[in-house]
Structures are given as structure tokens and as C-alpha cells.
Symmetry: C2
DNA sequence: CGCCCATAATTGACAGTTCAACCAATCCGG
DNA sequence: CCGGATTGGTTGAACTGTCAATTATGGGCG
């Protein structure tokens, strides 16, 4: 990934009376860190998605939905909570759950006490599917990330991720 | 993001005569690093995309296409090279370049010496557009990543990213 | 109570991506 | 040279995600 168009950067800082302050271009060290990280941001999700698609025929987002449900007590979550856990919009989740429902892995049920809420519930078939998929996914995560780093680097990565997450 | 479905993990390792070797679930420390990183992998690209979409009306991928062209000598690249630089499929690139062409920022030209190749060329209008967009994008990258970390962390992030990239 | 607003979720239309089929130019073995 | 294989690129259909509009329920206030 590229942040600074080369020829634009080559022109150097703008005159100080520009309407917008002159951009603070990245230094050499900053570029040296950002460029590989930016590439990673593209390629790693794509690689993980590809593994799930190939081995299980589902997207990473669908995996997250199933996994989130499996971790909830009685495998049930409200749609909005589920959307937050899977880091997606409610609309997207609604479409996805419709597809998962059609495949028999999830079912919907209205909340008896508050009719606005809808529960998404992981079926037994859905749980079995997830149990079949999970080992392969963990293997991929290990191969690409965990086992590629030593304990210290792994801790650094976790720390750095938490810092950046704090800015979102 | 969740890798291990809780109830499945709670069952412990499988008997050793399973057809597939029992999965090596993540340890507590590994999970502690992976979960925030996985969340980052979702949210950061979304945040960068949102900034470009809001401020410039283009996707991150389109930005990469324009930026890659701007860095090439005479602002020209073959379609396949451009696809590789932008980390996307040739098909996707072809559709995107069609759109950028319609907006007047890129034009196509067949290679005179080998008719199979197609050159994508950044127009002057495209270069101006990019120059207008870049500062805002750099600002976002700074705010979310670069300025959030100290020099040591930034170096660590770069190193770690290169290691993982090496596995893709 | 009755009205209005906020919230939860769904829906449909549209834009973008992927996938497979296709075309066109070059390379290369006979 | 000729014909198949290869490579670069495009296209269209099916699918997925996004956005805005819509429905439905519940809470609060006069």
C-alpha cells in the first residue's frame, strides 16, 4: 500500500499560508513500518477468508457469527449484540443470518418479553458444522501468524493492536 | 474475532487416533494477542476506507491504483503489474479501471510492441485528484497508527508485518 | 389513554466483487 | 508456417454488502 504519491512528496512542504496546513508526510522509518503493515492489512484477511471459503464454503464473517453464537450461553444472542460481536452492521447480519437459516445452521426466534428483539440461535447442525471447521481455521491462524512469531513478538503484536484499537 | 468455539474447546484434546490430528487450540497468551489483532484486522481497513470514501468518494483500492500509477515512471503500468501492486485480481482491476476511466482519471492504451499488454495511464486530472486526496489519507494513517505508537513500537510493527508477509 | 419518538430488525434497490467463460495476441513444437 | 497451448485482459452473471426506507414494538409525557 502506498500513502504518499512519489511525485507529490518530491515537491516538498507547501508554503505556510496554505488553507489546509501542509501535510506531514511519512518519514523514511515511518514508511518502512507502514508499508509492510499496510500490505499485511490487505493480504492476511484475504488469506484467512480464502482458507475458510475453500475448506468450509463460508466467509470469515459467517464464521464469526457461528463462533460468537457458540460462545454465548445457550447458543443464543440478540441480533444487535451479535452484529457488534462480529463487527458488522445489523443490516449485513440480517442478510447473513437469513442465509445461515436457509442452510439450517441458525434459527430466529422473537424475544417473548420485548417484541423488538430477535434472538439468533445456533442449531445443533450449526454447532456441528462449526466444530468441523474450527480446527482448520485455528491451523491457518497458527501457520500464518502465531507460529511465525516468538513469544515476545506475539506479546508486542497484542499490545500494539490494543493501542490502535483504542483509536477506533 | 473468535477462533475457538468455547464449548468445543472445553472438551479438551481429542483421542489420539482421530483421522485428523487433534487441533492445537490457542493458549491463553496466544488468544490474548490474537483477539485484539484480529479485531484490528477488521476495523482498521474499514476505518481507512471510510475516511477515503467520505473525503474523496473513492475506495481504498481505487486509491491504491492511483497511487501506484503515480509512482511509476511516466505514470504508466501494465494492467497485470498494477493488479499485483494493488493486491487485487486482474478482473477486479479491469472493472475499477473502467470506472476510473469514466471519471477521467485513468486511460488505457494498448502496448505497441505486444498487443496482449494493456497500459493503464494516470491522466493529469487523475494526478491532481490524487494530490488533493493524499494529505487527508496520510493524516488518517498518522492519527490511527503512526502517531499512536512510539518509535520502538513502530519498528516492532514493521518487523512483525514483514515476518507474517513472508508466510503469504 | 393517545400520541410521538426511539430502538430493533427487515427489506429492496443499487454498487462492487468474484467467478467462470470468453477473446485476442504471442509463443513454440512439429 | 501452422495449430495448439499460454498469457493478458475483458465481460457478464451471480452473489454480497451497503444504504436508505419501512415496519413493528416499546417507552415516555401530556
Amino acid at each position: 500500500m502506498v500513502v504518499v504519491p512519489a511525485s507529490a512528496a518530491a515537491r516538498g512542504p507547501e508554503p505556510p499560508d496554505e488553507p489546509a496546513a501542509e501535510p506531514r508526510w511519512l518519514s523514511t522509518e515511518e514508511r518502512a513500518a507502514w508499508m509492510p503493515f499496510a500490505a499485511l492489512l490487505f493480504r492476511l484477511p484475504a488469506a484467512l477468508d480464502a482458507q475458510l471459503q475453500r475448506d468450509a464454503g463460508i466467509s470469515h464473517f459467517e464464521y464469526m457469527v457461528l463462533a460468537s453464537l457458540s460462545e454465548a450461553g445457550d447458543r443464543t444472542l440478540r441480533m444487535s449484540d451479535l452484529a457488534a460481536m462480529a463487527s458488522g452492521s445489523l443490516s449485513r447480519l440480517s442478510h447473513v443470518v437469513s442465509r445461515l437459516e436457509a442452510r439450517g445452521w441458525v434459527r430466529r426466534e422473537p424475544c417473548p418479553s420485548d417484541g423488538r428483539y430477535t434472538y439468533a440461535i445456533l442449531t445443533d447442525a450449526g454447532f456441528r458444522k462449526l466444530a468441523a471447521i474450527a480446527p482448520g481455521h485455528v491451523e491457518a491462524v497458527r501457520a500464518l501468524v502465531i507460529d511465525a512469531l516468538n513469544a515476545r513478538q506475539l506479546r508486542q503484536l497484542g499490545d500494539i493492536s490494543e493501542i490502535i484499537n483504542g483509536r477506533l
